[in-house]
């Protein structure tokens, strides 16, 4: 057997100086030859002792048969590969782009102990793109079972639950508040990381399974959950964590200061980067400060670079503590984003017209580890300094969407505002399940999808079985 390559087959990508001048996707994807070569690096591991799956599959939140689909790619059976993936994952073109593989499948890859792990994410993306460019295979429609399920929210959690239930013969309707389906996939994650055409194609696929998607329906306002309960046999809530957090420091309402959600929604969902061809404007000055160190902050910073600006990431800990994926941090750096670490704003100073012109910051040092195990940032007295800035994007996290809980008093929530569920994602309200960010707070696309799947199994069990006892509510 030939010696295994130490590194992944490189993925062609747009060079940094090129890509900051456009809005197109950065990595360009494998050719079939590249994919087959990368697939041949896989060792086809068996489950370790006492485990159900091989290590990579254990590492995947939805347990895709990774060695199985990689073998299919290696042998050139690309249609088989996608079929194997889709058995567990309804949105592979999306997860193949945005999953934090390094912490999941690739993090567990045996090859990764000595060399680079197999490029599982890249191969998943290849298989999904291969299928999409040749027209999605639509599975045969099952016979309708006459039962109706409502899904609230069309993010990855809702779409996965919808697809799974439709495949089992349920009559599924998705209610979405915005005018486009996809949740964070359309309003949050930038075009250059996840082209909207891909989300559209996946949504079309889910429609082709017979799922009805009703946009412009704000549950809690247009209809209430209690009203839906009268019409549907089961409900899944996947409304996400869309409430932007601010720091509540002086000057935060000055012009030129956006929440990450406003900044990204204008650019992604409303296509403000193509203003005035599209009607929604965005105004970005010359010096942009993005506050935060997560993926959302990196997305905002990289967007701002594409609008041709000087961009700073301002983060109160060091790079090692940044919650953003390493890959995203690297890409941001390549694109010329500057990092101001151990720094946070304390107030914003405006000009006479009410626009932010300066930001006062304070420096931090790292102290003892906190509850999360990360070293706690401690402000350094007297280290305040002022920097000129004319645009700020506050990317310090989101909170659960309060609309559905607020308008459904019977639904129990936690003190963080997330919906309380049991191990099968059943809420305190009979016939209502919940999953994704509305349950987890901030999480990931794949975990939200995993929840959608888990809930669909529980819903199916409940609606097709004879046992109609609801969970024994704790507390």
């Amino acid at each position: 057997m030939a010696k295994i390559r130490e590194k992944k087959v490189p993925m062609p990508e747009q060079p940094p100086e090129e890509r900051i001048k456009n809005f197109k996707e950065v990595p360009l994807g494998y050719t079939p030859e590249m994919a087959m070569e990368e697939a041949s690096r896989c060792l086809q591991c068996k489950p370790r002792k006492g485990k159900e799956f091989p290590p990579c599959v254990e590492g995947c939140p939805v347990n895709v048969d990774i060695p199985g689909f990689i073998k299919a790619i290696k042998e050139g059976r690309f249609d088989d590969a996608i079929r194997i993936i889709k058995d567990k994952n309804s949105l592979p073109a999306i997860t193949g782009r945005v999953c934090p593989y390094e912490n999941q499948c690739e993090g567990a890859c045996t090859l990764g102990k000595k060399n680079e792990p197999v490029g599982i994410g890249r191969l998943e993306r290849f298989a999904a793109d291969y299928e999409r460019t040749r027209g999605l295979i639509i599975p045969e429609k099952p016979t309708p079972n006459g039962k109706k399920v409502a899904i609230i929210g069309s993010g990855p959690a809702g779409l996965t639950a919808a697809a799974d239930l439709a495949k089992k013969g349920y009559d599924v309707t998705v209610f979405e508040a915005l005018h486009e389906a996809g949740g964070v996939l359309v309003y949050g994650i930038p075009e250059f990381r996840l082209p909207k055409e891909i989300v559209k194609a996946e949504v079309e696929y889910i429609r082709s399974l017979g799922v009805k998607i009703m946009t412009d329906v704000v549950v809690g306002k247009t209809v209430t959950l209690e009203e839906l309960l009268k019409e549907y046999d089961a409900i899944f809530i996947g409304t996400g964590a869309g409430l932007p957090n601010f720091m509540n420091i002086p000057g935060e309402n000055l012009n030129g200061i956006y929440s990450a959600n406003e900044f990204l929604t204008r650019l992604n969902l409303m296509r403000a980067y193509d203003f005035p061809n599209y009607d929604t404007p965005i105004k970005v000055g010359e010096r942009v400060a993005v506050i935060g160190g997560g993926n959302v902050a990196m997305d905002c910073a990289r967007w701002a670079r594409r609008l041709g600006k000087k961009v700073y990431i301002v983060y109160r800990r060091t790079e090692a503590e940044m919650p953003a994926r390493k890959e995203e941090i690297e890409r941001a750096k390549e694109e010329g984003v500057e990092f101001l670490l151990l720094t946070a704003p304390t107030r914003y100073i405006g000009n006479e017209k009410g626009w932010v012109k300066q930001m006062e910051c304070i420096k931090f040092e790292l102290g003892e580890p906190d509850a999360s195990g990360r070293r706690r940032p401690v402000p350094i007295k007297g280290s305040e300094f002022i920097m000129d800035i004319d645009t700020v994007v506050v990317a310090i996290g989101q909170s659960p969407n309060p609309l559905v809980p607020q308008t459904t008093p019977r639904l129990k929530t936690t003190k963080w505002g997330t919906i309380e569920v049991d191990e099968e994602l059943r809420t305190s309200l009979e016939k209502v399940w919940a999953g994704g960010d509305i349950v987890r707070g901030d999480s990931t696309v794949i975990l939200a999808m995993g929840d959608g799947r888990k809930a669909s199994l529980s819903i199916d069990k409940y609606l097709s079985g004879n046992d109609k006892t609801w969970r024994t509510v704790t507390q």
Partner: protein, 279 residues
Amino acid sequence: MYRIVKKEDLAPNIKKFEIYAPLIAKKAKPGQFVMIRIDEKGERIPLTLVDASPEKGTITIAVLEAGKTTKKLNSMKEGDCIANVAGPLGIPAEIAHYGRVACVGGGVGIACIYPEVKAFKKAGNYVVSILGARTKEGLILKNEIKEFSDELYVATDDGSEGFHGFVHLLLKKLIEEGKKFDLVVAVGPVPMMKAVAGTTKPHGIKTIVSLNPIMVDGTGMCGSCRVEVGGKTKFACVDGPEFDAHQIDFDLLMIRNKRFVEEECLALNEYDKSCACQR
């Protein structure tokens, strides 16, 4: 898609639309609004629900030409379809029996105050409606409002009808003449609402206004619509749009509403040019 069932001219630059949107019609309450996106490239703009008919499944809006989107909307015809209408959004007005209620409307705000006039009347209040516009053509829906008002006063900036001057000065005059109010509700341009708040404050009259900050989603997810009320940041789309007028930082609202003036002008110019070309 949401079909325009009926269109009517209220004033030279204000049009009234009845739109087929049965789910919203069933739920609409005074003080609430919808988010509208005209077409695939359109922005999302908030418009107040002026009326709704659950039987016909229609909602009514009144639109003042302020820029590209409202101009384009006002050029749409009966039978045309609007891409998206979402709602009803915002917290409904607190309709209750207060006693004597003054409903003050300025400009297109007259249309927005109309459903509240009706509701306050139905709740058993003595309703005094006070309407203001630049000229008498702008005194829209006057007869409809009169029907539900115990007293009606009008003001025009140019003196072409009624009191000559701003509507808050008319309100001031009525108060000084000894009219008692338990509640004042005002909808109109920000400077007008600010002036009304300034008029009622010394008299300690509870005053509610409906704020109109720039919105994107209208569902509480972006913070574009943030306003300061009693020193606290609120999202007008979910916490409002109605707030206690005496707690509002109106100057901040005026500044924030100018965030995109250059872009808005550009969009309008381009639109006017494209219309001229087609002609």
